[in-house]
Symmetry: none
Subunit: 401 residues, 2 copies
């Protein structure tokens, strides 16, 4: 696989515009009752028309057989190697609630938990306390300074929170405090190597202080931290591709992932219509647009075939508003498959369509998995989609004479 330094040499800043429509969890499995996938079941006249004019294929986000989380799935679509560029859990949780991390921060996922008199964990989730309660407790823990390191604590949902350690020379190579099961004491955080020793000591001090503060807050009388991580040092889309990219995503995690890739973030409203309106409003000021549709993934996760079909039809209805802007390149794909019949992210290859003046032709007539198998893009790695989008936007110079 060619690398970013290679692309950098060839990338050209031009006025041409790329819209990448990411339908989260796109790609499914046949409904056992009908034998047809969500895409085959949905009425998608506009996506079908794009498939007839454009060039289609199937993409593997990480590698055949690997089921990606949202992090790797999106990194691949943004042109990064999702295996080399891992995003730690703590960082993903932080960007997922719109926290802007600085380069030296160490972030961790946290649970409020219950321990008994002997300090043994009896409930890893503190009875799933409500988010409002969790937010109050976070306030009690937030803002302390330990050996010059500031600790910030942000509520997520129910018992979950994010802890961010900000200071000099912090290192994320730390073992989890969360034992992952009940009946044992929380674990001491240990440094995996000398450079992280000081960070381990600070984190352990924080846990001790937190336990004291929470003594009278049963069932949330303890915290469990895990997934310590620093923000990955990714070269940005402007650096690699000379793009001016904008993310239009309703859910914060996707805005956060886009920010890691150097994208600006637009207020996206709450609905698909809001998002398309934001695209139109910002169209003149950027040349790459990441438009993220969440509902398809949620429906797939819930195993709700009919709802996924319905949301696909809603997306289809918005296509004319996007094509009316006449982007030079329109990419329609997903970050991973979420088949309703399976009820979760899956390892299946994801449909990808490129519509552009010089995209080439294939015989694909409908926007659906079985048709895309015979598409002219063939089988590719999701990481290669970005290069193809750039090529079709005539934003890549010839390599070699």
């Amino acid at each position: 696989m060619i690398n970013h330094d290679f692309i950098k040499q060839l990338a050209l800043a031009t006025p041409s515009k790329i819209v990448m429509l990411v339908i989260d969890g796109l790609g499914g499995l046949p409904d056992p009752k009908t034998g047809r996938t969500e895409l085959e079941t949905a009425r998608l006249p506009h996506l079908d028309a794009l498939a007839r004019k454009g060039i289609c294929g199937l993409a593997d986000p990480v590698s055949p057989g690997i089921t990606p989380g949202s992090g790797p799935g999106h990194l691949a679509l943004f042109g990064y190697d999702p295996v080399v560029n891992e995003i730690g859990r703590g960082v993903l949780e932080a960007v997922g609630i719109d926290i802007e991390l600085t380069a030296g921060d160490v972030a961790a996922r946290g649970n409020f938990a219950t321990v008994d008199d002997k300090g043994i964990v009896t409930d890893r989730r503190a009875g799933r306390i409500p988010t409002e309660k969790s937010a109050e407790l976070c306030k009690l823990l937030d803002g302390m300074t330990l050996d010059g390191v500031k600790v910030m604590v942000y509520p997520v949902r129910e018992h979950r929170f994010v802890a961010v350690f900000r200071g000099e020379n912090l290192q994320p190579e730390l073992t989890d405090a969360d034992p992952g099961r009940t009946g044992v004491a929380p674990l001491e955080v240990k440094a995996m190597g000398t450079p992280a020793r000081n960070t381990a000591a600070i984190v352990n001090k924080f846990i001790v202080k937190a336990r004291k503060i929470l003594t009278d807050h049963h069932p949330a009388n303890m915290i469990l931290l895990r997934g310590f991580a620093k923000k990955p040092d990714l070269p940005t889309l402007p650096e690699i591709y000379k793009l001016k990219p904008l993310a239009i995503a309703v859910y914060p995690m996707y805005r956060g992932l886009a920010r890691l890739a150097g994208m600006a973030v637009a207020p996206a409203g709450k609905t698909l219509e809001d998002q398309v309106a934001a695209l139109k409003e910002n169209y003149a000021d950027y040349d790459f647009f990441f438009l993220h549709v969440k509902g398809t993934d949620s429906a797939g996760e819930d195993g709700d075939f009919a709802r996924k079909v319905k949301i696909l039809e809603q997306v289809d209805a918005l296509i004319p508003k996007i094509t009316a802007l006449q982007p030079d390149v329109l990419v329609v794909t997903g970050d991973h498959a979420t088949p309703a019949a399976y009820g979760g992210h899956s390892w299946h290859a994801v449909p990808v369509l490129i519509s552009a003046r010089y995209c080439g032709a294939d015989a694909v007539q409908t926007f659906a998995e079985p048709a895309f198998i015979a598409g002219g893009l063939g089988r590719l790695a999701s990481q290669q989609i970005m290069t193809l989008a750039m090529a079709n936007a005539l934003k890549l110079a010839k390599y070699g004479a």
Copy 2:
């Protein structure tokens, strides 16, 4: 991707023969008027017959989305990684006029240019002086020796020439003297690192001398050098594959690229018929034949759909003369696509066909892009074609027991 050391272990010298017919710029885009590509438009009865009997697919010369120049495109077909093995501009220009470089030479592309009294570049191409004039001026600059380094100057076309520096310890890591624009003075050549310092000094001395010699030759009163490069140190086809390869190409650049890969070069005449005659004449003495067809690429570059179609039909008419020789393996492919509708080299995948006794079967009935999408070779890297040709010629031993 398997590497050359791996192949070397398996390669067998056998009497079987491989003909690789490279139709430059093979692969196109639909004509907007008809919806059919050049290959779909052309009448190609013999290539269609080969497609029915052989196995077909689509190849990416460098990587999906990357538009290759002729250098990377051919290196890939000869089995080299075109990203790792870059051919510098100076070397490509030199091999393009049949100059045989030795291992230590540093070659550069040169322009005759115009500077004003203050030494400011007013025309980077000296009014595109005719080739004959350029040839006279090259004679004035050719043959001087500076600090033991011999400088050879060869005319190319119009204002363009090649300068070759031959001596001890020359290094090509040098910045360009050509500023790439008018209104500024030519740049001093600088070493990118200590080892090239001496070479930089010699090159700068040459430029000073050249300017003096050219003083009275306005508009060609200056030279601009760029693209300093050494011949890449490629393992040759005889070394890797135990082949005895012959190149039959009308244009010098392709002979030069073949020489870099260790091929012998046959006098190829001027026409396709001459080339096929040269193939026949030399058939007994070699076991790998690289037959290069240029016209398809030129027609594509000119955006001349009809001419590209016509040349494809001319190539098709010669196929029976090639198959009459009964090569064990016939490969038909291109170094990159040059769609007439696009008017230049492009990033699109290139048709590839292998015809051989044990090549296997697929359902492809016609020699054209859309049909090849469903071919049995699938989508592959051009670099892998050489290994497949070797396998089909039964020139590769089994790997492992």
